[in-house]
Subunit: 202 residues, 2 copies
């Protein structure tokens, strides 16, 4: 297997996931700033033009970081990061999606539209970036309330939902387009999660 | 089980999924226009304030339509709609996410920002709605290319990825904020998928 990637929150999600499962594979760097991801050879790997992309040993490709993680879960089931049984699998899916769609997407929307980072290939709208930047912090309250009652975001198991939240929070801190509130239960969880060796995986 | 819902593309995804699996349950109507979904009693069911929400027999709640579908997949595995084995599960996840994040999200962004449908509770940005409306049709080419080679979106199995695409396309037609191109392979697939009895589930 080869992981085609460039430094990004989505690549980091995959790196942490792989580190948790002790999976290693060859890495191929993709030059996003130079537009390599929207070049013809790359589009044959992922017509969506996004990274990371996992190249399989049979020559097939998988994109979408969560789909790549789900593949790794299938080939290396332990430690379980997507849940076991109908209920826990659904709860982890729910929390993963809440983080991704309600918070990570707002942070990304603020970043892309306020900085114009990809303005050579998309139309940034400042006013929309501002709406995203104002919304994102409010969305964290739901996670803080949940973490008042559970060790990890989706319950007592560290899961892919925690990986998405830690990556989204660190990205928000890094790009400084969103003002993050200090929330007590998220702070407790954040310290605890950051003790995992996987958090520094690159 | 009870499904708390209001008419929406996400409710329809769950309806089709349930019909495919011959699952039935009590329905509870939620008045979105009247703001019932952001009332205190509802927020105790889903702090995210969204529908549908599945109330379980033990009093627990699941939200996020795909998480609800995954729960149904767990309790009623046949017909399989999320894939079997590491590779197919990942491929279905990939296509489901491509439809949802690259197309359905753009259609929703165009609808909400151009019409101001939820302007009592969010800030619509017309210019962003226009960007979404221009982007959405372009994203369909990837699905058309795939459907030139496969019966269903993620391969030879009808899956949750097909459900998301048919629902997103029908919603785009209904709200008329996006100009949809006629693409030959999507047209073939659309006719074929619409022969399934589940497509008219309400």
């Amino acid at each position: 297997m080869k992981l085609h990637e460039s430094p990004s929150p989505n690549a980091r999600r995959v790196h942490i996931f792989m580190a948790e499962k002790h999976i290693e594979c060859e890495r191929v760097s993709v030059d996003i700033r130079g537009g390599e991801n929207i070049s013809k050879p790359f589009l044959s790997k992922n017509p969506g033009g996004r990274v990371p992309v996992l190249e399989l040993d049979d020559g097939g490709y998988l994109s979408e970081s969560i789909a790549i993680c789900r593949y790794f879960e299938g080939i290396e089931p332990e430690p379980n990061l997507f849940g076991a049984g109908a209920l826990e699998s659904a709860q982890i899916e729910m929390w993963q999606r809440r983080v991704e769609l309600s918070f990570m997407a707002e942070v990304a929307g603020a970043f892309r539209n306020l900085t114009g980072f990809f303005k050579d290939r998309e139309t940034p709208v400042k006013q929309w970036g501002q709406v995203c930047a104002e919304e994102a912090p409010k969305r964290l309250e739901m996670f803080d309330q949940q973490l008042a009652n559970t060790t990890y975001l989706a319950g007592e198991r560290f899961s892919v939902a925690d990986i998405t939240l830690v990556v989204a929070l660190d990205f928000a801190k890094q790009v400084k387009v969103v003002e993050l509130p200090q929330l007590p239960h998220i702070s407790r969880w954040y310290s605890q999660v950051n003790e995992r060796p996987s958090m520094t995986a690159t």
